[in-house]
Subunit: 222 residues, 4 copies
């Protein structure tokens, strides 16, 4: 069984761009090495290339357009992500929703480049739908928990359990991330015990004074 | 086993609005009565209410917004569709793509009003994803056939067969429509033989001089 | 100088659809006749046709797609609006934002049918931009006032004054509506004194137990 | 009077990413130095930072989101562009259309970082609207000429002349680029003679075997 994935979305946070992105990547690399847990980060497009080359951690884009290289202005292709050293991309994050056809196209484009797709979803039905598209991961973000400060594992463990069951009923190969409500190592432990393969989180790491400290706590119960 | 559904999308065609919409509805009612086949039409929002009240055929909206009644300008709610006498709505048509979250919300909103959702999809994977959301129908529109004049049944029967199998593997209760490439009664026959529960079509009926004639041909081999 | 326009957006409010839409239209017709003030309403697409035919008040759509009749599913054309008896349409309401190219196309499509465009904007610069597209009306909706219960005329008269000046500097023929923060006849009076040609409002009329009473108050100081 | 601007949009072309982006930047720097003409390039987000740091030419993003740094996934902020060394950004390119409100927000966000906004528009009215938002540049892309191989200057000089006049009537400080139909140095010469301040172009440089050769031709008649 592979290590759970702790995936840190740096979003467009001031505290997650430029030198801070490098500092968080360094902390992730350090704690991953100490703990044996896989820690990935999803920086902005601009920080992606240097971070993917300087650190031995999986680096994800925050979004990808499911188009071939060509006459597309302001787009980001899977081809460009692979060339930049990415391991994969978030797809359909709640802050960057896509049409069903575009989610499918993004997954196809990523997989054609041997990159992983992490499709974000907002409930059990959407998670099952995403699973039918056969991405590597589905990350469940119940809207009532996004940025709420409430732990998904404690507040609503049933939605996680049911989503894992539904996703696996559709496609048992798709791994599931708990995508909201992760505050601490105990949350991560509960998320894994509920059957998910890791967590997707953002501000608690990105805005931390000492990201390594937070990351160490997050992996502490695994 | 219920009758196949012949669903005619009137789009925004000049030949499908106003008095022409009524004429097509009348033809649909007539041919449905003669043949025993269910024929539905999807007129514009403006024609929906009068047609649903004057004709004994199922009337579908072309789009619905998955929101509750409230402060939404330029939206169309499932609640309003039910009050207007609709039987359901198209969702995610190729000319009106929605996010995955909105497709799910539209289906939920329709079903809460006891209306049917006909979710349009562009390939096998998207059809499976749509099926996971448990709409009443999935209508498969392979992009290479939309408006092409080529019959889906003849040109690419495999995509239909595989999509039916994939949809039913995810949710056996979801019915499948062949949503492109339907030119004649023979096409409808082949579509049904390939395992679909009917067809979604548009211009060949809407632009016909005599829609009843075309509809009679479409149901002739059932 | 023409009468100011009181334009009531019924949105998708439960209290603004079906029989309630007719009741509000009747109240608008009554108060318009009593006062000599022009009162228009913008009902849902479904209510638009019957209301435009039963009442002698200008009826607006809440949105229009700037496309020709044709293969557009779930769209609403200016052609269909004209056939339904509409006087015009809202364009780019804050709940239905459009691209710049689509705003322009919508205005062109409306004007080709001799219908009026009421383009909603969120600030002074956007109002000037909208004016450059030469619609009949620009309705200014400062986001901080939408649904706030604060009167725009009292809270922020300067933004209205400056927007009127900016709009007229770009195109003196474009009329301006105060599109948020209208609670009472006094607000309407101030809006007009600030140089606008009327108001666009919604919930205070739509949700009123007695819409005629509210409308009488709104026109009372003109 | 400043030099005209030759702005090369590298889009997502395979021939405009990675080492090819660097090669084109080098050619631009060389020809700019030889000729004294300002040549800018708009690479993908991923190539933007290294190119802005290695070459003494203005580098533009292909798109920017008009939001502050924060919880925005898959977005690109003006703040991040400035940190990466960009000189500005394209806004509302025909392949990446924005709402009017977002165009305005993008311009504001860029200017708050002392970056230049190049707003693309599709016709005379939209150009006037864009000018009202006071960007540094408006780039006119008549849709009938995009990628057509027809020179805008020859085919339709009137639309350019009228657009320049309309833009300057709204805001005389806004500079205008001819944004489609540029094939050669003669086209650039005509574009400038028609009153524009430069050109925006893409494939003819990006797909050239020898971009320096093409760039030399483009500046040859200035």
């Amino acid at each position: 069984m592979p290590s759970p994935l702790i995936l840190v979305n740096l979003k467009s946070y001031k505290e997650g761009t430029g030198s801070r992105a490098h500092m968080i990547a360094q902390a992730a690399e350090l704690v991953a090495k100490e703990s044996g847990v896989t820690i990935g980060i999803a920086p902005t497009y601009i920080d992606l290339h240097p971070i993917a080359h300087h650190f031995a951690i999986p680096v994800y884009a925050q979004h990808v357009d499911g188009v071939e290289p060509g006459a597309h202005t302001g787009h980001i292709t899977a081809d460009a992500l692979r060339a930049a050293g990415a391991a994969g991309s978030l797809v359909n994050h709640s802050e960057r929703r896509l049409t069903l056809a575009d989610i499918d196209a993004s997954i196809q484009a990523l997989q054609a480049q041997k990159l992983s797709a992490v499709v974000c979803t907002n409930n059990e039905a959407a998670s099952a739908a995403a699973a039918a598209l056969a991405p590597e991961y589905v990350a469940i973000e119940p809207p009532e928990l996004i940025g709420s400060g409430v732990s998904v594992s404690k507040a609503n463990p049933e939605i996680i359990k049911r989503s894992v069951a539904t996703v696996h009923a559709v496609n048992p190969k798709v791994r599931v991330l708990t995508g909201a409500g992760i505050q601490s190592g105990e949350c991560v432990r509960i998320a894994v015990d509920l059957g998910t393969d890791g967590v997707l989180l953002a501000s608690s790491v990105v805005k931390a004074k000492d990201p390594a400290l937070v990351l160490r706590d997050l992996v502490s119960k695994l």
